[in-house]
Amino acid sequence: MAPSTDDTVSKQEIFNDGFWNNNAIFVQLLGMCPLLGVTTSAENGFWMGLATLLVLMGSNLIVSLVRGVIPAEVRIPAYIVIIASLVTVVELVMNAWMHEMYLILGLFIPLIVVNCSILGRAEAFASKNSVSDSLVDAVGMGLGFMFALLLLGGVRELFGQGELFGFDVFGANYPDVLVFILPPGAFLALGFILAGVNIINMRVKQRKEAALTTLAPVSDLS
């Protein structure tokens, strides 16, 4: 295995990369199925995001622990077994102690197995990096995913039902814009959010470039 990259990449960078620069939803557009399916409200988005975060942390932890032990030829089936087992654990635990939420998310929890961002992180990061780096990566990626679900769920709930986390925001006279709750609304809302994210990223880039041109070039910039 290649030597780990501990020395060159800081934990902060790994986190930022997972949470924003390489965000599973906003940048890689992975894991669309749970994203579009469950985000009819902010609360659903939050719990689905949390379940995914836990699975991602577990799988990155285990995969980075056994990196080098599992022969390259069978690493994918081994990762899938690990991920599927973790998802089943999360499903059983939710069913036992968060029964109401389980009834709402029920169908989508098993689908975490086929969320490609989880296998993607196992393959692209955890199998090549140290345990601590892999955990930071999982937390960054997982929180990024959760943030995206929460944002989309919030937008859809707010415009679709005039509520946020079940609390009335716009008052009783708000005419619910049903399309936001329906599946097409998920695509629409996601499109606007992606546009927003791109605008933010562009502004940041412009500001950086402006700073570079006004200031004298600094030597320690990579």
């Binding site: 599992i70 690990i82 036992a96 029964h99």
Partner: protein, 218 residues
């Protein structure tokens, strides 16, 4: 046949170990969560039963009995009893097979006299914001209260009946109304048999209690 070389053995062994550890872990978690899951399901069921039955003095889940509606299907019936032990109402699950997307499961409570106590939707896959009004629209759910087979037109208003449909959703409420109607018809036809089955269940549970040491129940 060629013998497996070292590399292949290692691969097979690795996969075996991974699967074995996964199975052990799942078996362990399954053991841990089995009782809490059963308890959570019972609690959820009990919660919905309380919403469709009048005040009662018995344990609904203990007094549950199975009633053969047809020669294939056993219906789980939950009787509500007063202090004297007489049945005052029954609750059971009625399934509407013709929802807009899939089946709708309805828990309905019916007084022995044949009036609906209340209905609640326990499971459905209807469109959020349209058809799922059947779970959220309290006024609509309450329109079933005290309705009986006679004197009520069991259809949505669009079809000339007594029940509201929703804007943009007629199929869903239509399916629910139809299912509740069917349930009431079923009750009227089998009233005597259901009562008999309830009494039989009571005898059985009494026999069980007397065979157990006193205070054995919790």
């Amino acid at each position: 046949m060629k013998k497996f070389d070292k590399e292949q053995q290692k691969i097979a062994l690795t996969l075996f170990i991974v699967a074995f550890v996964a199975v052990l872990m799942l078996a362990w978690v399954n053991m841990l969560t089995k009782a809490p899951i059963a308890a959570a399901q019972r609690a959820a069921l009990h919660q919905s039963l309380l919403q469709v039955l009048p005040e009662h003095d018995n344990d609904l889940l203990v007094d549950m009995f199975k009633f053969p509606v047809s020669n294939k299907k056993l219906l789980r019936v939950f009787p509500a009893k007063n202090k004297k032990g007489d049945v005052i109402a029954y609750a059971w699950e009625q399934i509407a097979p013709d929802g807009y997307s899939g089946t709708i499961r309805i828990l309905m409570g019916v007084r022995t006299s044949g009036e609906v106590v209340a209905i609640r939707i326990t499971d459905h896959k209807e469109t959020p914001g349209l058809g799922d009004g059947i779970t959220k629209n309290k006024t609509w759910l309450n329109s079933f209260v005290d309705k009986m087979l006679a004197k009520t037109k069991w259809a949505v208003k669009k079809d000339g009946g007594d029940f509201d449909q929703f804007t943009g959703a007629t199929i869903t409420p239509r399916a629910v109304v139809k299912a509740v109607h069917k349930g009431l018809e079923m009750y009227q036809q089998n009233q005597d048999e259901i009562l008999k089955a309830a009494k039989k269940q009571k005898e059985r549970s009494l026999a069980k209690q007397s065979s157990q040491p006193v205070g054995g129940d919790k």
